[in-house]
């Protein structure tokens, strides 16, 4: 048997909403117009915010993929994407520190290795990461290869999402790196960022062959990737490692490594202010549009408001109805804008190969911005209701 729900609560609490709801729906073409206007302003804000996040995320993506919780790098390294390696013995010193479960090297090159596209014979700089295939330190997204096969000399896996002119999608059977013939044994899907067009992963032996250490021996380590023992306090381990390695080596948590990169990007690039300005314009324009919409609504419905006042409704209640209506029109603009931007992000993200994504955070930020722009304009417009004089209605 179905029990009838207790509607009392709903009727009481929703009791006043239908008024705002109804006056919103009273004029459908106007609703369409206003949600279109507000929606486009929201879309502009969403795009600018989305681009800004994509810009920063693209450069942080690889750091997030590092499979460790403490990292060693040269203290002079000012950003992730620059080659400034340190001798492998410093990593070995860290490996024996109590609390350290594993410590393995990541080798990297950003500006030294050229990939020859086998399709057209053209050379392009690529970002190259290397590690011991038995101890991979990078979790490669959508990996379609057996990492163990990288222990064979002159093998590589490539990025299917690299910029198309590199010719990595689909992965060719073979190619050249700095003039060395390389067998391609698989691929992953990472994507370029604003400086690197494509990425390759090779084994440590192949790396040593491509970029031999000028002092001989194993190549220097770009980043030491350390996992601490489960149950040990990471801060204590970090402190113990810091004491065990020379002062030229910085010992960082993943959060600190990400923060270093984020600070560098914010300081050096003008992406932040550029996109902030676009967002601000979206906000102001949205405010103008919603003010316009709400003001017109109020003007049209002034007799109704005055009548309600005459039959005893308080100004407070009427103001509340206006604010509710503003919030509803905010939602009426925000929902379609969000849906359109999901689609737009997908299309632009695919075309530009940048990590444009609608996240819960982005949706929330844009919702707050939309609500506040509509509510601010409602507050500005509401004077009309307050001054509604029942005597003047007829």
């Amino acid at each position: 048997m179905i029990t009838s729900p207790n509607l009392g609560f709903w009727q009481r609490s929703v009791g006043f909403v239908p008024l705002a709801w109804r006056s919103l729906l009273a004029n459908k073409p106007r609703l369409l117009r206003s949600s279109g206007g507000i929606g486009f302003a929201v879309l502009l804000m969403l795009m600018q915010l989305g681009f800004e996040r994509a810009f920063f995320n693209a450069s942080l993506e690889v750091i997030r993929l590092l499979d460790g919780d403490i990292f060693l790098q040269r203290a002079s390294k000012y950003r992730f994407a620059t080659r400034d390696p340190f001798p492998g013995r410093d990593l070995e010193a860290a490996r024996v520190v109590p609390g350290v479960a594993s410590a393995w090297p990541l080798y990297a090159s950003w500006h030294e290795i050229f990939w020859r596209n086998p399709a057209d014979g053209k050379d392009f700089l690529v970002r190259v990461f290397a590690f011991d295939p038995d101890h991979p330190v990078l979790s490669l997204p959508q990996l379609d290869a057996n990492l163990k096969d990288l222990s064979d000399l002159d093998t590589a896996i490539v990025d299917r999402r690299a910029r198309r002119f590199l010719g990595m999608d689909p992965p060719p059977p073979a190619a050249e790196l700095n003039g060395n013939k390389i067998k391609i044994i698989g691929s992953f899907a990472l994507g370029p960022d604003f400086e690197n067009d494509g990425t390759m992963v090779i084994g440590d032996r192949t790396f040593a062959k491509l970029l031999p250490n000028p002092r001989g021996g194993a190549p220097d380590v770009e980043l030491g990737v350390i996992k601490s023992n489960p149950g040990s306090d990471p801060v204590t381990v970090q402190r113990a490692i810091t004491a065990a390695v020379p002062t030229e080596i910085a010992v960082l948590t993943k959060g600190q490594l990400l923060e270093l990169e984020r600070r560098f990007q914010a300081e050096v690039s003008s992406a932040g202010p550029i996109f902030a300005m676009g967002t601000l314009v979206g906000f102001v324009v949205g405010m103008l549009i919603s003010y316009q919409v709400i003001y017109t609504d109020l003007a049209d419905q002034q007799p109704q408001y005055a009548t309600m006042k005459a039959i005893g409704y308080r100004t407070r209640y009427l103001v509340q109805v206006v604010l509710e209506q503003a919030a509803l029109s905010a939602l009426a603009g925000w929902v379609p804008a969000c849906l359109v931007s999901i689609l737009l992000f997908r299309v632009v993200g695919q075309l530009a190969l940048i990590p444009l994504q609608m996240t819960a955070e982005l949706a929330l930020v844009s919702l707050v911005l939309t609500l506040s722009m509509c509510l601010i304009s409602a507050v500005l417009a509401v004077r009309r209701v307050i001054t509604a004089d029942p005597a003047e209605v007829f």
Binding site: Y78, T82, D84, D123, Y295
Partner: protein, 377 residues
Amino acid sequence: MRFALAWRILTYDKGRTALAVVGVFMAILLVFVQLGFFIAVPQGGMLLYDRTRFDLLIASTGYEYQVQPGEFPLSQLDKARTAPEVALAAPLYFGSAKWRSGEDGKAPDVFVIGLDPQDRIFTSEDINRQLAVLDRADTALVDRMTRPMFGPLTTDRVVEIAGDKVKIGGDYVLGTGFMGLGVILVSAQNFVRLFPYRKLRQVNLGLIQLKPGVDPDRAAASLRQLLGGDIQIFTRPELEAHETSYWTTRTSVGLLFGSGLIVSFIVGVMVVYQILATQVSRQLPQFATLKAVGYGDRFLSGTVITMALLIVLAGFFPALVAALGIYEVIREETLLPVEMSGPRIAVVFAATLAMAAASALLSMSSLRRADPADLFS
């Protein structure tokens, strides 16, 4: 009459019209700014070329863009020098090295340009005059636009670059563009000392200055014949087209600012449409009356179009002035030559007119509802 009516309607409700103008102003300003960046980015890549004197650029066939130029033999430049059209063939060497004297013990990468100090290749005489300093061993001139993280750039400061001690011999202003966070000039001899694996006989770029009166296109053709197919030769317009297409098609710049451009345009249309549609529906009885006394639909839509035009024009000119200010700020911050050129103004102006037309078109549907018969119902 159409104008008079449109003007009356707009000035009747001044506050609302002011709002519309502000909205359009913001939208047009955003169009200007997005367009500015769209053009500024490739120009950032042209910075060094724009400020050096040459008629033709010789580069390797692997030339990608300024910072990734590839290498070709110096002997090609020696050969070019023998051509009767050529006045100067100057080699340029590019390299990137660790500047180990940064703030907080950091070692930022510095972009090093190696050149022959005898070749006065820069448009700025201030730089050319200082080039003589570079003949001293391990001395560099540093671009003043180099980022603060490199530490003080005072003359006579000794810094460590790629393991060598290098003395700052002076500074100049050219701009770092996309060459890097910091740029220094050194002589070719000092360049190979900094980069021991580099050889003087392999150069990155060759700048060719032609004798007065020589046609660059014809000289390029005859040099191509003389030097063979292992290198490529760009005239200045070809070079600019190449760099612009690199930045707009190879990188995300085109899509990023291109889509911003489109959305700001649509937002502009929405603002004007919003205002027009409201005004039309508010004045509907008046419009219907006009219809009843014999004015045709064409007159009424003409009035709406005039209103749209008045609003966007009122927004356009302040936006132009504000954009000039913003371009000035970008220029100072980045040293990019972001200039308000005639064609750019024309393009945005055309977009503005399109904005007016689109919004007027959208609000016509409200106008059609103006039915004299409804007037007294």
